[in-house]
């Protein structure tokens, strides 16, 4: 009954997907190696920078450059500790996206593409992102 189909060797493109193909989803970030962490944080930070951080930033820019009153209101708003905390979080997102992006630009021109340098540069990105955030947080607190 399967004479026609079994006479031909199954090619990867025409073979139907196995219904019980195993899937390995490990969504625990702690199990990711540093390059994987840099990658997923780069993606998540990019999405968050697009929304809601960018419209928020534009709104703040509008308030700051608008009038004396809007500037004063903005200034008062930023004295609130929770707002400062949120701003520091956003700064980390930007800093990480910045340093991870520079790492990807270097990888694109084949700088540090071997396993060990790529791992070291990923750790460097995570450390630099954190350091830059701490430095700016210390300035604005």
């Amino acid at each position: 009954m399967e004479s026609a189909s079994s006479s031909r060797p199954a090619s990867p493109t025409t073979r139907p997907a196995s219904p019980r193909r195993p899937k390995y989803y490990d969504l625990n970030l702690a199990h990711l190696p540093p390059p994987g962490l840099v990658s997923i944080f780069h993606r998540v930070s990019g999405a968050l920078l697009f929304f809601p951080i960018l419209p928020g930033l534009l709104y703040v820019l509008q308030m700051v450059l608008g009038s004396e009153e809007s500037f004063a209101g903005c200034r008062e708003y930023f004295t609130h500790p929770l707002v400062k905390l949120a701003v520091i979080g956003m700064i980390w997102l930007y800093a990480h996206h910045f340093f991870a992006g520079i790492r990807y630009l270097l990888l694109d021109v084949h700088v540090g593409i071997m396993k060990q340098p790529a791992r070291s540069s990923a750790i460097a990105v995570l450390v630099l992102g954190a350091l830059a955030t701490v430095a700016i947080a210390w300035r604005i607190w």
Binding site: R43, G46, A47, L49, F50, F51, L54, P55, L58, L61, Q62, V64, L65, S67, E68, F71, A72, F98, G101, I102, L105, D108
Partner: protein
């Protein structure tokens, strides 16, 4: 000269998008460093200080260039994310349109902030 000819498939904008995403990244990285240096040098604190930072033509054009680069960079990035996770074509196209529209509005908004005074 022997040339590599591949089967003509796809819309061929992939490589251009990939390259422009990198170019726009460089533009924004340079602006970021320059902006931070400017903040460190002038340390603006009052309303007048902040207005002065963005009053020069160079600062306005550079900031506008940053936002144009950001428009394209975020478009490629968000489209990649949507193509990876949203498999229903209709929903994906709707979300891509929303992203594109939002980015255009951001661009117009930033121009109006920089030049409305």
């Amino acid at each position: 000269m022997k040339r590599y000819i591949k089967t003509p498939v796809g819309a061929h904008y992939g490589l251009g998008d990939w390259l422009l995403q990198r170019l726009t990244a460089v533009v924004m990285a340079v602006y970021t460093v320059g902006f931070l240096a400017c903040l460190a040098m002038h340390a603006p604190s009052t309303h007048a200080d902040w207005k002065a930072v963005f009053s020069g033509t160079f600062a306005r054009v550079a900031t506008m260039l940053f936002f144009v680069a950001l428009l394209y960079h975020a478009w490629v990035g968000m489209r990649d994310i949507l193509m990876d996770y949203i498999r229903a074509t209709g929903l994906r196209l709707a979300l891509q349109m929303a992203v594109g529209l939002a980015l255009l509005l951001y661009l117009i908004w930033s121009a109006s902030i920089l030049w409305s005074r």
